[in-house]
């Protein structure tokens, strides 16, 4: 097994574009949640969203833009940021040993919406020729491969809210085992379409609008939490073997230490303590570290009544008494739930938090819930910490639980690594 460094990070998010900007916003406790301004807003029960400030025309020429769903646009821009950040112009690299691993839950929602509207709403029999190419789930990964001439595997993972954690974990495995030298890994999601929002609304998992300040509507771990807020964006990371990164003098932002996967089998949506514990334990085992080594956690922390209580119980089961001493951040309170992209964004924020010695805040935690009694870094970032090892939790509908173990760049390697 080889150590796997993170050498590049790119972000398009409700907290801004670029990893540094998104991190600065999260550190300051700013929320990207607001009331959505769209033609269909009046048909939504709770018109909340966390939108990215993003115009595809700023990034792509029109002929190409016409072929890209918003989800592919996000993915391409985040990947280009990450490649540039990593200074990853690999002229001598074997491009067959560079892969793309991308998670997306909903894929090209706008393309699907547009096609259905044409056929069923407008009753037209003419559907755009690019509909299949824009709508296929693997389009974002494929476009990244085309854009950067990457000829190794380009794989797409769709495991709902854990999609990009799975993608990063799979990329980590390939690089750690030596099958690849470099991987571009992360996730993209663009679910803020009328059809998608109505579908989520029907599931009764979305937050109600905070009557005082809509930007405070997502309240993870708070007794008055009412649900999650959908967000959009992408986060992509460049992973490469530690030695490869050092040899080329690449910037090292941190390390992927491991990934654990486990599946709930009790219910299609209801989370289970057992499944979440199993994923965290598997993650620790994959990283060859003990639970006592965990300095902080980025929680799944969606703000739904079901998740946050179950996740609290699961963290206690894994960390024991130490659970009460570990800062736990629910950054979805600020950037919303980017579904298949959210784990990658939280991975980026966590790596930067370790680099800066910060525990990011769980905002809008107004009323502590007795069932969520851990240290959730309520309402303000905690500075001046030493954080070398973190868990980043992602628990999905469908039961695919994925937990990443992240290390700071300055963390001493455990004995298990070469």
């Amino acid at each position: 097994m080889r150590r796997v460094a993170v050498t590049g990070m790119g972000v398009v998010s409700p907290l801004g574009n670029g990893a540094s900007q998104a991190f600065a916003q999260a550190r300051a406790g700013h929320s990207g949640v607001h009331c959505l301004q769209a033609s269909f807003t009046d048909r939504l029960t709770a018109p909340l969203a966390a939108t990215a400030s993003f115009n595809g025309a700023d990034h792509f020429e029109p002929p190409k833009l016409r072929m890209l769903d918003r989800v592919s646009q996000f993915a391409l821009v985040a990947a280009s940021q990450a490649v540039a950040d990593a200074r990853a112009d690999f002229p001598q690299a074997d491009r067959g040993r560079v892969g793309v691993f991308l998670g997306t839950g909903m894929g090209a929602s706008q393309t699907s919406d547009d096609g259905y509207k044409t056929l069923y709403g407008d009753r037209s029999d003419r559907i755009k020729p690019f509909t299949v190419l824009m709508g296929m789930h693997n389009a974002p990964a494929a476009w990244i491969g085309i854009e950067h001439d990457l000829r190794g595997p380009a794989l797409t993972y769709s495991t709902a809210c854990s999609s990009s954690a799975v993608a990063i974990g799979e990329a980590w495995l390939r690089v750690a085992h030596g099958a690849l030298d470099v991987a571009i890994a992360g996730g993209a999601e663009a679910p803020l379409t009328f059809g998608s929002l109505k579908a989520w609304e029907a599931l009764h998992t979305l937050a109600a609008v905070d009557p005082v300040d809509p930007s405070c509507s997502c309240k993870p771990f708070s007794a008055n939490r009412s649900g999650m807020v959908l967000g959009e964006g992408a986060a992509m990371l460049v992973l490469e073997s530690w030695d490869h990164a050092v040899a080329r003098g690449a910037p090292i932002h941190g390390e992927i230490l491991g990934c654990g996967l486990a599946t709930d089998v009790g219910h299609i949506t209801r989370p289970s303590v057992e499944g979440q514990v199993a994923a965290m334990v598997a993650a620790l085992q994959s990283a060859s570290i003990e639970a006592s080594a965990i300095d902080a956690i980025n929680a799944h922390g969606t703000g739904t009544p079901a998740n946050d209580a179950v996740e609290t119980a699961a963290i206690k089961a894994v960390l024991g008494q130490r659970a009460y001493q570990v800062p736990i951040s629910a950054t979805k309170s600020m950037h919303g739930h980017l579904l298949g992209a959210t784990a990658a964004l939280e991975c980026v924020l966590s790596l930067l938090a370790m680099q800066e010695g910060v525990a990011l805040p769980t905002m809008h935690l107004q009323a502590p819930d007795p069932l969520c009694d851990l240290d959730c870094v309520a309402n303000a970032a905690r500075e001046g910490l030493t954080v070398h090892t973190m868990l980043s939790n992602s628990f999905a509908f469908g039961g695919t639980n994925a937990v990443l173990v992240l290390g700071s760049a300055s963390r001493a390697p455990s004995s298990g690594w070469s």
Binding site: E61, P62, P63, K64, R66, M67, R126, K128, P129, F130, L133
Partner: protein, 96 residues
């Protein structure tokens, strides 16, 4: 009287944001960012704009002039073309 070329240029300027001076009849479509797949989409848009129906078969057209000639040849055919599978709902004779 608006020609097919002018109508095509109007689409390329409006929807593809291309510069009019780049749209010479000899201009290769590839140089405009329109490959064979993009041509299929362009012709789809032309059908909407010119209110015609083109044959379903894929065509290989390399320049702006090729597209104009392809369209003009179809437009020039008699409406009987509909019955023979040419698919012209109505000729794209300029209406404005």
């Amino acid at each position: 009287m608006t020609t097919t070329y002018e109508q095509l240029c109007a689409i390329l300027v409006r929807d593809y944001q291309l510069q009019p001076e780049a749209l010479a009849l000899t201009a290769p479509l590839e140089d405009l960012g329109i490959d064979s797949l993009g041509l299929a989409e362009l012709l789809f848009n032309v059908e909407d704009e010119l209110r015609i129906t083109l044959p379903p078969e894929a065509v290989d057209l390399e320049t702006v002039g090729d597209v104009v000639r392809y369209l003009d040849e179809l437009i020039a055919k008699p409406l009987a073309g509909v019955a023979t599978g040419m698919g012209l709902e109505q000729p794209a004779r300029p209406s404005a």
